[in-house]
Amino acid sequence: MSGRRDIRVTINSVVYERAVEPRLLLADFLRDTLGLTGTHVGCEHGVCGACTVLVDGDSVRACLMFAVQADGCTVETVESLGRIGGLNPLQESFHAHHALQCGFCTPGILMTATDLLKKYPLATDDEIREGLSGNLCRCTGYEHIVKAIRAVKAGAAR
């Protein structure tokens, strides 16, 4: 039974049906099996947050979940947020506030921020920083990322 399993996963509104090995991580399924390379893979043990995606609306580490576990689930990756020339407000804000440099951590931070904005008041910068503490960024020092998220929060409040 360690053979392949048939799974059906809705990713960014597209239904994918594939046969996968049970040990295949969701992150590798997205990138290698489906070619959705927007989701990045950093540490592969749940520390860096680069592979964060939404599963049934909740942010999860795609390296800490097997693709077979996503059978029947709805997955959203960074590709669902916007496209070049049509960024969503969070992406626009990251652009406007220079909230990325090398961009490696950005997909995970965008998906984390999407969930944070939904679940927490993020009333202070400290709360935003705490929310981001599970996503490692080695370029920006976080300052501009916090500003970008704060701006989206302020916009949403208006």
Binding site: R5, S59, V60, M65
Partner: protein
């Protein structure tokens, strides 16, 4: 860093899960939230022949007000505990503690049953189970049994749970009226494992402390209750000198390890300081000051 191959079994019932465990004779592992297990699989620190996925078992994730206790299903996610109105009403100390458990993406997946069964020496939930006098309900093919949190945590990553057993429910007896709480944690970064954390409750009756509970994590192989300090406080009035004695007793009772992140002495001093703060806040919340 990819897991070794394993046989994947989706359990549709608790009975099926424990039957699979029994047949596997120690070669199977339960996959709940996977937030501790999957890293170990990715590193190949563990190579179980079989993974029994319990995520699709219906009715294993719940928080239920059952009169004098609150019952929590083992598959309840950390974020559910963090945001539950029932927990907020009866165990605000637990709601607050949950905000210190890892990060949102981990809390969305991680489960209370998984955290207690895994028993990381610096995790918050084992300490909270100890503080709140939890009773753990365990099932196997041979039947059901219960164990108190006090007897459950044996050593680092080692609990009173046999290879063919599954933790299904956690029962927390409600706290008496006029109980205040405090929770203090220091970690290197928000969401990291605690360098040390202290959770305390104090119940006030007639101006005296009817009961004080003090639990610590990150200061030894398992979470601990500071029994000597608790005994010092029980039945006494919360006077400054007595509180100082109790806080010193907390420090004397623990022998933390030195590691990369902090020395043993630093951790003891930290635990003492955090115990002082947690007890002071608990007294305030109990209405004693």
């Amino acid at each position: 860093m990819k897991p070794a191959a394993f046989e994947y079994v989706v359990a549709n019932s608790v009975e099926q899960a424990v039957a699979t465990l029994a047949q596997a004779g120690g070669e199977a592992k339960i996959l709940a939230g996977g937030q501790s297990l999957v890293p170990m699989l990715n590193f190949r620190l563990l190579r179980p022949a079989i993974l029994v996925d319990i995520n699709r078992i219906p009715g294993l994730a719940f928080i239920e007000d059952a009169g004098d206790a609150v019952k929590i299903g083992a598959l309840t996610r950390h974020h559910q505990l963090e945001t539950s109105p029932v927990i907020a009403k009866h165990f605000p100390v637990l709601s607050y503690a949950m905000t210190h458990v890892a990060h949102l993406a981990i809390r969305n997946r991680g489960t209370i049953g998984g955290s207690l069964s895994h028993a990381d020496p610096a995790a918050e939930l084992p300490m909270m189970a100890l503080l709140l006098g939890a009773t753990l309900h365990i099932i196997s093919g041979k039947g059901k049994r219960t164990v108190k949190a006090r007897e459950f945590f044996r050593d680092a990553l080692t609990v009173d749970l046999a290879e063919d057993e599954l933790l299904t429910e956690i029962h927390l007896p409600k706290l008496p009226p006029q109980t205040g709480w405090g929770f203090e944690e220091v970690a290197r970064r928000a969401g990291d494992f605690a360098l040390a954390a202290v959770a305390a409750t104090i119940t006030i009756s007639g101006g005296a402390m009817k009961e004080a509970r003090i639990a610590l994590t990150g200061v030894g192989p398992t979470p601990v209750r500071a029994s000597e300090a608790e005994a010092l406080l029980a039945g006494r009035k919360p006077e400054a000198k007595l509180m100082a004695q109790a806080i010193e007793a907390v420090r004397a009772a623990i022998k933390p390890e030195t590691d990369l992140h902090a020395s043993s002495d630093y951790r003891r001093q930290l635990a003492r300081a955090l115990a002082g703060r947690a007890l002071a806040v608990a007294l305030q919340r109990a209405g004693a000051t």
